[in-house]
């Protein structure tokens, strides 16, 4: 799914300080005194790059137990109701409290979760056999009724569940035994069983959720099954998770996990440096160097499912000519962007999806998927010629930029620089961070904009999560691209369960999208995790979104 502007929705992986302009916007309605403006001017911007980085499969395993550890997250979850848990902060916390039918592993593969077996007797049926004797935090024992109820909440329109769209092909969810639930599909859907490893597949206690009523998710317990249960939630400050002693699986190594909400990126880095927080995911790229050289702990990078792209939003202007899109892609200084914008921790890519997204395929399929794509070696002369040929020399284009993160602001600048070299007049349109989020949700906000930087990640280990965006009428298909053959390909991929066969179809789809340059791929962005010397054990991959990672965190050897 996409990463949205931090704090509101998820569109840029690394949030950071925003300009005073937006803070003032809130205040301006009330007071407009010049003195006030002088009194609180905005933050200065600056960045540094770190150079080389290596991907770690994991962090060293924990040696023993600890009483508690503190984790920095960049925002407070508005609610911890699993049906609306669709953003980094809430998923990072919730993954340790609420478990799903399936489980995503640190290696980004799928394994049984609360269902000990998932079977697929026919293409339109999924049968989940539940684990026996699983205890909820409210003391009750899990049955099929809880599963039917929990999944039902995702499709209840009154709930406005963020995961509702993943149930679009579901015809019914029924109890077919005390510990068995059968899902009937309207048509074969290879994505649905994968989403059962995310918050879409969470099972909570029916009685517990009903007892909490409209307060579910904001106060009281969550009535889930995970290794931690919800403890004290100090609103606006922090939320504590307490080890759940009745957990069915491997007991958590830490008695407590405390999540502190630290919105300001430099404050977050400071908290890590001073030991007020023991670790954190989503480290601001401009802090990589500081944390690496601090001697306080270690910064690890892991496989992610995030790519940084330029999203083409307007095909009615010069970008409607594929030669212009191609020229722009050819002239873009990707490695310069990775150095400056991603703190050197990233790789230049010609693929919209990360290598890790293809993990379910065979060696050959993965090779086909990634090697068939057009090369992205910079070639200014050729790009210039293409622009000339398209008759676009001197034409004006607009790219949106915002100070929400360097992945956005520096990429916009790189696009502008590329344009300047090949005879395009590219203007930057600076958008306040809150309005930047609106680019995704409001067509009016995209008026007069031809493209914008977009960091996107998959919620499951399947490239289809991203490739679906180019289907006719898809939510993120801002350019209004429509190709019947492509749409049919997407539908076909959705209906094929065999991973290798499906990924082969997806490889063709990705090739098509890459040739058409519906988005211009720029870089792969690995996940970053910082751990101080006291703790270890957290996974390095993006699995922390849905895997109970905090249970693995313990004392460092």
């Amino acid at each position: 799914m996409t990463t949205v502007v931090p704090r509101t929705s998820r569109r840029t992986s690394v949030p950071r300080g925003r300009p005073a302009g937006r803070r003032r916007a809130a205040a301006a309605a009330l007071l407009t005194a010049a003195a006030l403006v002088a009194a609180c001017a905005g933050p200065p911007k600056g960045g540094e790059s770190t150079g080389d980085f290596t991907l770690s499969k994991t962090t060293p395993a924990a040696k023993g137990e600890i009483d508690s550890f503190t984790w920095a997250v960049y925002a407070e979850p508005p609610t911890l109701d699993y049906t609306v848990a669709f953003d980094y902060p809430q998923n990072t916390i919730l993954s340790n409290v609420c478990e799903s039918l399936m489980r995503w592993t640190p290696g980004l593969t799928l394994e049984p979760g609360l269902a000990e077996k998932a079977s697929n007797p026919d293409p339109k049926t999924w049968v989940y056999d539940l684990r026996r004797g699983v205890r909820f935090h409210d003391g009750r024992t899990m049955t099929a009724d809880d599963v039917v109820f929990s999944l039902g909440r995702q499709t209840d329109p009154d709930n406005a569940a963020a995961w509702a769209q993943n149930f679009q092909n579901v015809a019914s969810v029924r109890k077919t035994g005390p510990l068995q639930v059968t899902v009937k599909l309207k048509k074969p859907d290879s994505q649905f069983p994968q989403y059962m490893a995310t918050a879409a597949g969470v099972v909570a206690s029916k009685a517990g959720v009903e007892a909490a009523g409209k307060d579910y998710g904001t106060s009281g317990g969550l009535a889930c099954t995970g290794p931690f249960e919800l403890g004290t939630w100090n609103k606006g400050q922090s939320v504590e998770l307490d080890r759940f002693d009745g957990y069915w699986g491997k007991k958590a190594k830490s008695g407590k996990a405390v999540f502190r909400f630290i919105t300001d990126p430099s404050a977050r880095t400071n908290a890590l440096l001073s030991g007020e927080a023991d670790g954190g995911y989503l480290i601001p790229t401009e802090s990589y160097a500081r944390l690496k050289g601090s001697g306080v702990g270690k910064l690890y990078f892991g496989e992610g499912l995030s790519t940084v792209n330029v999203n083409i939003t307007n095909m009615k202007g010069p970008l409607g000519d594929i030669r212009v899109r191609r020229a722009l892609s050819m002239a873009l200084d990707r490695s310069g962007f990775v150095k400056a914008g991603l703190g050197g921790a990233g790789t230049v890519t010609n693929s919209l999806t990360t290598r890790a997204a293809w993990a379910a395929g065979s060696e050959q399929t993965r090779k086909n998927a990634l090697e068939a794509l057009p090369k992205v070696t910079p070639d200014i002369e050729k790009a210039k010629a293409l622009i000339k040929e398209a008759g676009a020399t001197g034409k004006t284009l607009t790219v949106a930029t915002s100070s929400i993160g360097q992945d956005v602001s520096l990429l916009a600048t790189a696009v502008q620089a590329a344009g300047a070299q090949i005879g395009l007049d590219i203007r930057l349109k600076t958008i306040a961070p809150n309005a930047f989020t609106a680019l995704f949700t409001d067509p009016e906000a995209r008026e007069g904009i031809d493209m914008f930087p977009l960091t996107y990640y998959d919620s499951i280990t399947d490239p289809l999560d991203l490739l679906t965006n180019f289907k006719t009428g898809a939510y993120m298909n801002f350019a209004g691209y429509s190709d019947k053959k492509y749409d049919e390909g997407i539908d076909r991929a959705v209906s094929v369960y065999d991973p290798d066969k499906r990924l082969a179809i997806e490889a063709d789809l990705q090739k098509h999208a890459a040739e058409q340059l519906l988005w211009i791929p720029v870089a792969e962005w690995p996940t970053a995790v910082f751990l101080n010397k006291r703790i270890t054990g957290a996974p390095t991959t993006i699995s922390y979104m849905y895997y109970p990672w905090a249970a693995d965190v313990g004392s460092a050897p």
Binding site: M1, T2, V4, V5, R7, T8, S9, G17, A20, R22, R23, R24, A25, A26, A27, A29, L30, A35, L36, A38, A39, C40, A41, P43, A75, E76, P78, T79, V84, F86, P157, D158, A160, A162, A164, K214, G217, T218, S219, K235, G236, Q237, R260, F261, I262, D264, S266, A267, N270, A271, S274, E276, N434, A435, T437, F440, T441, D442, E444, Y475
Partner: protein
């Protein structure tokens, strides 16, 4: 002007101001791009039924005026509504966060008043090198935006020296004081400079006045002259900046709270504005406007007491 008439007039003015402010804020939110429903869904596509359900639940599909009046009606009955983002009652959101913000502002206010007055006083009375030193210091203070001050204080006292936490609001009263020390200084810095300068110039003006010369010639001790005549005469001028001081504190707290991740209502306002959480933004805006007006009212009530030349209601506060 008698007190009853004054009170009635001020109450009416306040109600009108709150009404206009609420309408303006509501309108501004309404016109800004993006819809709360789309933020609720985290920018994912949703079925038309789900969107319709949200829109109905929060009255997002009704015309502007209807929505505004509905909100106003609930508000008058003491119902702040339910936060769209947090899915909980706004009154509860505020109850959780308001104490922290008020404590932060109170601490900053104490720092501003004590240090600002002392610096201004010393500067005016001593003159010479002291005066120059204060002028240089206040120039620096006035020129340092609270955000920059926050970053500098964090870097020095939290990260380098480790004397204070780098953020958060703490738990329990003493822990809270310790956590809010740096933020309150960051918040106060600019205002210390401003107040010191206002105090200094007001006292210098008073020092030059005739009755000070008269008092001195009568042999009244210098300390008494300064306290009774000079300082007391300047107090009116100093007090009238009260409104400006408090409004600056209220606005800058948004920034400082974010910088230190304090999680008070300043930070909540910023987040709610981002996600177009109408009920929350409306409630916080009104609280800020109300606080601002209450401070001005207090200033107007106190002024006649410290400065007999001013009568009740004869002049509004200058902020």
């Amino acid at each position: 002007m008698n007190f009853v008439r004054f009170a009635v007039r001020r109450a009416a003015e306040m109600a009108a101001t709150l009404l206009v402010a609420s309408f303006v804020v509501f309108g501004a939110m309404y016109l800004a791009p993006g819809s709360p429903a789309s933020f609720l869904l985290s920018g994912r596509s949703a079925s038309p039924e789900a969107l319709a359900a949200i829109n109905a639940q929060y009255h997002l599909d009704e015309p502007f005026l209807v929505r505004y009046l509905t909100w106003l009606g609930d508000m008058v009955q003491g119902d702040f509504g339910r936060s769209i983002t947090y899915r909980t009652d706004v009154s509860r959101l505020l109850a959780d966060r308001l104490p922290t913000t008020l404590l932060l502002i109170a601490m900053a206010l104490v720092v501003v008043v004590v240090i600002g007055l002392v610096l201004g006083w010393v500067s005016a009375v001593r003159g010479g090198a002291t005066d120059s030193a204060v002028l240089v210091t206040t120039t620096f203070a006035v020129g340092t935006p609270s955000f920059v001050a926050a970053v500098l204080l964090q870097a020095l006292f939290a990260v380098k020296l480790g004397w204070f936490p780098s953020g958060g609001a703490g738990e329990g009263f003493l822990d809270k004081l310790w956590h809010l020390t740096l933020p309150s200084i960051a918040l106060a810095l600019y205002l210390i400079g401003m107040l010191a300068r206002v105090t200094r110039s007001a006292m210098l003006e008073a020092l030059d006045s005739e009755h000070v010369t008269v008092a001195r010639s009568r042999g009244v001790p210098e300390r008494q002259v300064i306290r009774r005549h000079v300082f007391r005469n300047s107090l009116g001028t100093v007090l009238t900046t009260g409104g400006l001081i408090v409004s600056t504190l209220l606005v800058c707290t948004i920034l400082v709270e974010t910088a230190f991740s304090i999680g008070g209502i300043g930070q909540l306002l910023e987040l709610s504005t981002t996600t177009k959480d109408f009920p929350t933004v409306q409630a916080i805006s009104l609280i800020i406007v109300a606080l601002f007006m209450i401070v001005n009212l207090i200033v107007d009530l106190v002024l006649p007491l410290v400065d007999p030349r001013i009568t009740l209601g004869s002049k509004g506060s200058s902020a």
